[in-house]
């Protein structure tokens, strides 16, 4: 799980400008804070990833990652339901049916992926609680 978070944070840290326009594509934020989120969020992902692997601030890392994955699931799902691609920010109705089908499938795949991550993270959290 930690590796996944570090891997996900890497390209966003290097290119906050594209990440900021991705955030814009979700269509839920006001424009003024989009850059700020794109600057901070990838670092949280990186630290959480390191935390999950090294065990440093482990419990906090598990908690934050659960919140983040829930947030991602919510954000992608709302875009999906509104018929909006988060890849290009375009609406499925405006692009060719083949493109729309691929993009729809990609988003669905990411939602399912995130749900699997969430289950894994809850297993981690459960094992912490059991130990305490």
């Amino acid at each position: 799980m930690g590796t996944i978070f570090i891997y996900a944070s890497y390209s966003k840290i290097l290119d906050p400008v594209s990440f900021s326009s991705n955030i814009h594509n979700y269509g839920v934020t006001i424009i003024y804070i989009e850059n700020l989120i794109s600057l901070i969020l990838p670092w949280i992902e990186l630290f959480v990833g390191i935390g999950l692997i090294s065990g440093l601030k482990y419990e906090a890392s598990v908690d934050i990652s659960i919140y983040m994955v829930i947030l991602f699931i919510f954000l992608i799902t709302q875009a999906y339901l509104r018929g909006k691609s988060i890849d290009c920010g375009c609406f499925f109705n405006d692009i060719s049916p083949e493109d729309a089908a691929t993009k729809r499938f990609d988003m669905l795949k990411r939602i399912i992926e995130d749900i699997v991550f969430l289950i894994l993270l809850f297993t981690l959290k459960y094992s912490i609680n059991k130990k305490n």
């Binding site: 906050p16 400008v17 900021s20 326009s21 814009h24 594509n25 269509g27 424009i31 003024y32 804070i33 989009e34 850059n35 700020l36 794109s38 600057l39 901070i40 969020l41 990838p42 670092w43 949280i44 990186l46 630290f47 959480v48 935390g51 601030k57 419990e59 906090a60 890392s61 908690d63 934050i64 909006k84 290009c88 920010g89 375009c90 609406f91 405006d94 692009i95």
Partner: protein, 162 residues
């Protein structure tokens, strides 16, 4: 305070500091993003240097009729061939190298008005291309037409396909 909550706050604070610090040191992205300004009709004949601005349909038509702007289609080549604003040049940012872009813009001077459009709605291809042409090619009168091809075509304004 609950230890876990304290740790969560520590992680978020460090991430915030690093993120903001990075922006201040590298200066590649402003911390606060402002919406793009819209050009006023008086400024349509003023070609002093500006960051990319937004242009509305009626202003676009004015520039088109008086041939004072070069139209650039930022969509992919398939959409372009399907139909585009009459006389527009196709530059799909992701599939063109900088050399190709220079070739396509050959003969267009840096203070020329460039009107860049894509497929309207939330399409940001035109914005990406506009920022790139402004930053790396020093085009100083870039106008982004947000209504894009669907709005233009919907009004029955001149289009062509090839």
């Amino acid at each position: 305070m609950n230890y876990r909550l304290k740790d969560i706050l520590i992680i978020i604070s460090i991430a915030t500091l690093v993120g903001i610090g990075r922006s201040l040191i590298l200066g590649d992205i402003p911390i606060i993003k402002y919406p793009i300004k819209q050009i006023s009709s008086d400024e349509l004949s003023d070609n002093t240097s500006h960051k990319p601005r937004i242009i509305k349909l009626d202003q676009c038509k004015l520039m088109f009729d008086s041939k004072r702007a070069v139209f650039i289609d930022a969509r992919d080549s398939i959409s372009f061939v399907d139909g585009h604003i009459l006389g527009a040049i196709n530059i799909h940012f992701e599939s063109n190298s900088d050399d190709r872009i220079i070739e396509k813009l050959d003969g267009i001077s840096n203070d020329n008005f460039l009107i860049i459009y894509c497929s309207g709605g939330d399409c940001d291809l035109s914005e990406e291309l506009g920022n790139h042409l402004f930053e790396y090619f020093s085009y100083t009168n870039i106008l982004l037409y947000e209504g894009g091809f669907p709005e233009w075509e919907g009004r029955g304004y001149p289009v062509e396909n090839e």
